[in-house]
């Protein structure tokens, strides 16, 4: 009935590195704590009052000894810090070619969207052996996206994109947990990561997941639909207009703001400009764009950003003609 597992499955590239460091720390803990406990008992018993033992020349200060037990732990601590810091820095830098998936947390479920438009709730399908980057945001309170078998987690914060990446090494099903207290059903905000062989994953993706896929719209296409629905091109067309700057070739470039600062046009910036336009104004423009915060969901924001990213460097001569034939509006889901 009961089993006593001592280690969760290690199913990502980072899990092995983590467990090595965990092991080093455990060895250090044992090396320092066990002798302290044993010696405390030995000293206490050996030097019990009444025991006739050598108590000659008791010392009360010893600089050399003090420095030894200050400096050695300090050096050990610094060494562990260095190794750990290196792992962490790598963990915070997703590889360039990482596959991107989007996560939206809300009380009390995980909502996941793949770039091709496939959506899932409380499940995340990923291929094995491929680095996956999650871009995450919360609709309400702070959550944390945690996969113990991958040894990784990151907070999912409202109003701000956070990122997490991993590379699964083993096929199978693993836990997704919310690891930041978020209200009544916090402990039910759980799900599954399903790691598949790449070909299986591609097949799954092409089949539109199970049932969550809205017709045949990829994220970019849904973004384009929204772009048209809201008539964004009225102000943000092929070229800069007096009402608003063009969005072509915007992503990844530095923008000059009215206050003289320059801002890198990344996901975070695009989201803010979309939802809270007046917060940062591009030089030469005034705040005329309405606030879309109430209008657009976080999911739609992600889709619009995905679309904006595809608007190339070169402004097309003719109106943008995306490859896929546009189907009638699906509207907002």
């Amino acid at each position: 009935m009961f089993n006593f597992p001592l280690r969760p499955e290690a199913a990502s590239t980072f899990a092995g590195q983590h467990d090595l460091l965990f092991g080093i720390l455990t060895v250090l803990t044992i090396v320092f704590s066990v002798p302290v406990m044993i010696l405390a008992i030995i000293f206490a018993v050996r030097f019990r009052a009444g025991n006739k033992v050598d108590r000659s020349r008791p010392s009360h200060e010893n600089l050399k000894l003090e420095l030894t037990w200050t400096i050695i732990p300090l050096l050990l601590a610094l060494a562990v810090f260095g190794y750990s810091a290196k792992l962490f820095v790598d963990l915070r830098k997703p590889p360039k070619d990482a596959m991107e998936i989007f996560v939206i947390g809300k009380q009390w479920m995980w909502h996941i969207q793949h770039p091709n438009g496939v959506r899932e709730n409380n499940e995340l399908h990923v291929p094995v052996g491929v680095p996956v980057k999650l871009t995450m945001i919360s609709q309400d309170v702070i959550h944390a996206f945690y996969i113990p078998e991958f040894r990784t987690q990151y907070m999912v914060v409202p109003d701000k994109y956070t990122q997490l990446w991993f590379q699964a090494t083993k096929e199978g099903e693993y836990m997704i947990l919310c690891n930041q207290y978020c209200g009544t059903q916090h402990s039910e905000m759980v799900g599954k990561v399903i790691v598949q062989r790449p070909d299986e994953f591609q097949k799954w993706l092409a089949d539109g997941g199970r049932s969550m896929r809205p017709k045949d719209r990829t994220m970019v296409e849904s973004g384009e639909d929204l772009y048209k629905l809201y008539n964004c091109a009225n102000c943000h067309g092929d070229v800069d207009t007096p009402r608003g700057p063009s969005l072509y070739g915007l992503f990844g470039k530095r923008q000059q703001m009215t206050d003289g600062t320059t801002v890198l046009a990344d996901d975070e910036y695009l989201r803010e400009s979309l939802l809270k336009a007046e917060k940062k104004l591009v030089a030469g423009y005034i705040a005329t764009m309405p606030n879309y915060e109430q209008e657009l969901s976080e999911e739609q924001a992600l889709q619009l950003i995905a679309y904006m990213k595809t608007l190339g460097v070169q402004k097309p001569a003719a109106p943008a003609a995306p490859a896929a034939a546009t189907t009638p509006q699906e509207g907002n889901r």
């Binding site: 009961f2 089993n3 597992p5 001592l6 969760p8 983590h18 460091l21 965990f22 720390l25 803990t29 320092f32 704590s33 406990m37 010696l39 405390a40 000293f43 206490a44 030097f47 019990r48 009052a49 050598d54 108590r55 008791p58 009360h60 200060e61 003090e66 037990w69 200050t70 732990p73 300090l74 601590a77 610094l78 562990v80 810090f81 190794y83 750990s84 810091a85 962490f88 009380q107 702070i142 944390a144 945690y146 113990p148 040894r151 990784t152 907070m155 914060v157 701000k160 956070t162 947990l177 919310c178 690891n179 207290y181 978020c182 209200g183 009544t184 059903q185 916090h186 402990s187 759980v190």
Partner: protein
């Protein structure tokens, strides 16, 4: 070797007026300005809150024996762990040692008649009671479900509980700590007896001083932070909630700026107690006095610049995380230094294994584990996995329950004869200490493994991971042993009040100034202010005098014998 020879003035202790029997009216207790009586008031009130917090904890442990709960709704469960956290942190751990034993012993230890500001001291007890009352009211009216950390925007925008009332309670209780800290700082600076130089002060006093500095600097910040949460919750003004234009992570920064140092508010006093116990029961001057004293200050100082290690996965920049991680590793060193010095003190000592010393040895074992497991969390890469799991829960319980609570019990057993004038049963106390030690490890060690397996803290259901159940059951079983260990002292200590043997001035043969006065002491502690001529813990000098006295007595007896 325990008690020094009885002195004549000690014989009539039963009838001699002391701070306890000087007046018996309730009014005389409620309006007292005597630091010792205020300490007793605190002892009674924090014990009450500890009991409440403990009841909440037992509900939590009972509930977790089953993956799908046994009796509570999720909402009730959330309110239980919030109640447990808020009560234990703000109403028990923060005031525990400073407000009771600091209040009781600190003035005597430096040879003062009272704290610098007795009326302020009484006021701080009332503030504590008002704050505690408000928190209790919030819990009784329907509870708070935010956890003790009050993270925004959940606490300010989404929680339906009585968050504002609880926050006001914490705010007021915070001012109680501030006034206690202020009182200690002024007392230590200006009220020391002649000859009591800074480096002759007992290390408990140093620890209290370092604690007071943290309280005075940190508590106002959390007070204003929580006040801002209350403003946001009641007026709908965006400070921390992004929906209103605020920054949710800002709250975490401001909250941990206090709440991490607050951890040291809880553990530093306990370390001070350890220095007293280990020196006294090893009958030896504490090894490396200066290093132990300065490590307290180092902890107090460094403790203020490590708060970001609670936010490695909150979206703070990688550079910030690196700096905070580095300092967190460094802050572990002074604690290690203290531990090594205590070990060296026991070495070649003259160890008397009575119950306070048993608590001290228990503290050493638990504190070392608690401290070292902190490194797993200070280390960035491992924290990414362990953050906010049961590993964290186990770690801070090793520090706060294993460390602070062991220190509290050690202090209680050490100063009880001084407070009450009565001796309790040492054997029962040893059983109590063993129960606490064993029960504690049974409860919290499995939680390290649970955390490594990935069980998040504050989870009510875990039916998706049945492999966690065995450890949870172990933990709950341990908790019942632990509860027994906490209840037992209540019995034998209360029993000693009526039936205990008179303790005499100095049942432990300790050298601190507080042991030179009667037990229980007179209202003004000393009949005349002592003049200090020795270093702290100068057991060698005392032993020499005692040895000489004993030889003189022997000579006299031999002489008398030959006369007959």
């Amino acid at each position: 070797m325990s008690a020094t020879a009885a002195r004549p003035e000690e014989l009539d202790d039963a009838t001699r007026p002391n701070y306890l029997n000087v007046s018996h009216t309730i009014k005389s207790w409620l309006l007292t300005q005597d630091h010792k009586r205020i300490a007793v008031l605190y002892l009674v009130s924090i014990s009450f809150f500890f009991l409440l917090g403990g009841l909440a904890a037992s509900m939590i442990r009972l509930e977790l024996t089953s993956p799908r709960g046994v009796m509570l709704e999720s909402e009730t469960y959330n309110k239980m762990f919030s109640a447990h956290g808020i009560i234990m942190v703000f109403l028990f751990l923060v005031p525990s040692i400073p407000a009771t034993f600091g209040n009781f012993a600190l003035p005597m230890m430096i040879g003062a008649k009272d704290l610098a500001f007795p009326r302020l001291n009484l006021l701080s007890w009332y503030l504590y009671m008002i704050g505690g009352g408000l928190i209790l009211a919030a819990l009784l009216m329907g509870g708070v479900d935010t956890g003790w950390t009050f993270y925004t925007p959940y606490s300010s925008m989404y929680s339906s509980g009585h968050v504002v009332l609880a926050i006001v309670g914490v705010f007021i209780a915070g001012f109680s700590s501030i006034f206690t800290g202020l009182n200690f700082i002024a007392t230590v600076h200006k009220m020391r007896a002649p000859g009591m130089t800074w480096f002759r002060m007992p290390l408990f006093v140093w620890a209290m001083y370092a604690t007071s500095v943290i309280i005075v600097l940190g508590t106002p910040v959390v007070a204003i932070t929580l006040a801002l949460v209350a403003v946001e919750a009641t007026m709908g003004v965006g400070i921390f909630s992004p929906a209103l234009g605020g920054d949710p992570v800002l709250f975490q920064h401001m909250f941990w700026f206090y709440s991490h140092p607050a951890v040291y508010i809880m553990i530093l006093p306990s370390m001070g107690v350890m220095s007293e116990l280990i020196a006294c029961f090893s009958r030896k001057r504490i090894f490396g006095y200066h290093f132990v004293a300065f490590s307290s200050l180092a902890i107090a100082g460094l403790g203020f610049i490590v708060w970001g290690h609670h936010m490695f996965t909150s979206g703070q920049s990688t550079f910030q995380s690196l700096v905070f991680s580095l300092i967190s590793f460094v802050v572990a060193v002074p604690s290690a230094v203290k531990t090594f010095n205590w070990m060296a003190t026991i070495y070649k000592g003259n160890v008397d294994l009575r119950s306070p010393m048993i608590f001290a040895l228990g503290f050493l074992g638990l504190f070392v584990v608690g401290g070292l497991t902190g490194l797993y969390l200070a280390s960035l890469a491992t924290d990414v996995h362990l953050q906010a799991t049961y590993f964290v829960v186990a770690h801070f319980h090793y520090i706060m329950v294993g460390g602070a609570m062991m220190g509290f019990l050690g202090a209680l057993h050490y100063w009880w004869p001084k407070m009450t004038g009565k001796m309790y049963s040492d054997n029962w106390a040893k059983i109590g200490a063993a129960l606490v030690f064993v029960g504690f490890n049974l409860t919290f060690f499995p939680q390290f493994i649970l955390g490594y397996l990935g069980m998040p803290r504050r989870y009510h259901y875990y039916d998706f991971a049945p492999q966690w159940q065995a450890y949870n059951i172990m933990s709950s079983a341990g908790a019942s042993v632990l509860a027994l260990g906490y209840i037992l002292p209540a019995f034998y200590l209360l029993h000693s009040l009526k039936y205990g043997k008179p303790a005499g001035r100095n049942p432990w043969g300790a050298v601190g100034l507080e042991w030179q006065t009667e037990s229980p002491p007179d209202t003004h502690n000393f009949h005349e202010i002592p003049i200090v001529t020795h270093e702290a813990y100068d057991y060698a000098a005392v032993d020499e005098i005692e040895h000489a006295q004993a030889q003189e007595v022997m000579k006299k007896e031999a002489h008398m014998g030959s006369d007959e």
